[in-house]
C-alpha cells in the first residue's frame, strides 16, 4: 500500500474506480474460454490487422 509524505495509507480515486469497476459475467468468462469462439475472433482480428497495414500508407 502506498503512503503519503506523512506515512498515511493513500486511498485515491483510481483505487475507488478499480473497486467499483464492472466485473465480467459468468457468461463472458465462459465465452473467453470457448476455443471455437476464440479461433473465430483470432482469424477476424488478424484480418483486421492485415487490412490496417495495407491501408496504412499511400
Amino acid at each position: 500500500m502506498p503512503t503519503d509524505a506523512n506515512g498515511s495509507a493513500r486511498i485515491d480515486s483510481t483505487t475507488e474506480a478499480i473497486a467499483n469497476a464492472p466485473l465480467p459475467t459468468p457468461r463472458t468468462l465462459r465465452s473467453r474460454k470457448s476455443i471455437p469462439r476464440q479461433i473465430v475472433r483470432f482469424c477476424s482480428f488478424n484480418a483486421r490487422m492485415l487490412r490496417m497495414v495495407a491501408k496504412g500508407h499511400h
Binding site: 502506498p2 503519503d4 483510481t14 478499480i18 490487422m49 490496417m52
Partner: protein, 460 residues
Amino acid sequence: MARVIVMGAGISGHTAALYLKRALGRDHEVIVVSPAANYNWIPSNIWVGVGRMDEKQVRFPLRPVYKRLGIEFHQALGVAIRPFGDELGATGAIDITYTDPARAGEAARLRYDYLINATGPKLNFAATPGLGPDANSLSVCTVDHAQATAKAFAKVIKEMKAGAHKRLVIGVGHGGCTCEGAAFEYTFNVEHELRQAGVRDMAELTYLSNEYELGDFGVGGLAFDQQGFVSNSKLWTESLFRERGVAAIVGAHVKAVDPGIIHYELLDGTTGELPFDFAMLLPPFRGVDIKAYDAEGNDISEQVFAPSGFMRVDADYAPKPYEEWSPGDWPKTYQSAIAQNIFGIGIAFAPPHPISRPRTSPSGTMISPAPPRTGMPSGVMGRTVAESIARRIKKGATAELCTASMASMGAACIASAGVGMRHGSAASMTMFPIVHAFPNPGEISRQPRVRLASPATGRS
C-alpha cells in the same frame, strides 16, 4: 548505382532495408548499419522478463540474413551525419565506429545517396536517480535486462513459496515516459505467473504510471464500440485491474528510486513513497547520441535534431497549446527538415507533440506520457519510406513521396500472458487512427472523434 544506408536494424530499419532490397534488386546498394549483431523482437522481451522465453527465441543474427539478400551489413555505431558532405565532396556521409569484434573501435565514413535514420531510442535511465538495472530497479527493454529481471522474478517467487509476502511494482520510471502498454502487458504477465506458481495471495502487485487515468496508454485513451454502446479504455482497464486484483497509482512522476523504495510525485502535487521487493520500471526515451555537421564541419545538430535528440522531419513543430493541436501536425513522408535525401522513422523521428493531453503538477513537473510509436506503425513507416526512396531512385529526385501519417494509420495492440490454448490469456485491440482529432471543433468535423477499437479478452 545509388547507395541507400539504413541506420538501425529494429522494426522500422529492418523493414525498410528488406523492402528497399526487394524494390531495388542488384542495381543499387542497400547498406545497414547497426551496433548490434542481432535483431531483437523487442515486444517479446516481456516474456523473457518472466522466464517464459529465452534469448534465442527473441533474437537472431542479422549478418546471415543480409548476406543471403545481398544487403551489406556493418556492425557499427553511427556517431555523426554529414548531410551536405565534407571537404572531399558534397555527397552526404555518416561517420561510424565499428562494434564488430573483428574491427572494434575502428572509425569509418560511409557515403550515401539516401539515408534512413531508424536508430530507435536511447534508454534514458539517467533521467531518474536510482532508476535502471545498473541501480535499483529492473527493466525489460533489452534481452539482457529482461534476463536479469527474469532471474529476480524467479527469486521473488521462490521466497513467496517459502512463506514471505512480497511487494511487486511495475510501471514507468519517469513522468515523461512512453510505452505504458508494455508496462501494462508485463504487469499482467507477472500476475499470470504468480497465479501459475500458486503464490498470487502472497503478492501485492501495483501498477505505477504517468498516465492521467488507467487506459490512457499514451494516446489519450480509446473509445470502443461495444454491443451498441460507446465504452472507453478507462472502464475496460479498471475492470481488468479489479478482476486480477492489481492496484494502480496513476499520474505519477518517479522522482527517485532508492533500494527498496520508490519516491514519487502526483499530478495533484502530493508526494508518496512506495516500498518494493521487485520493481520493473521502464525508462523515458530520448534520441541516440548522434551529431550532425555541415560540409565545413560546423555542428548543425540543433537543426537536424529536436532537443529530445529525435530527428526533425516534415512535422509542424511550432509550439502550440493542446487546444490548437491538429492531426495535420504529424509527419507524412518522414523526410528530414533539412535534407531531402534523409528520412527519420520509427522511434527516431521527433513527434510534434504528445497525443495525450499534457499535464503538470503544481510544482511544474510534466507528468504526461510521450507519444508511443509501436511496432506496427514503425513497420508501416519503414515500408513507406523504402517505397519513397525506391521511387525516387527509379523515377528521379522529384518523384512524389509516399505518405503514412500516424493520423491516418491504425495500430493493433496485443497483450498476452501465458502460453498454450488453455493456460494463457490475451487482450487485443485495434485503433484507428493512432493520432486522433484534438478537441478543436474544426478538426472534429473532419475526422471521427471516436476511434474504433475492439477489446477481445481471451482466456481468463
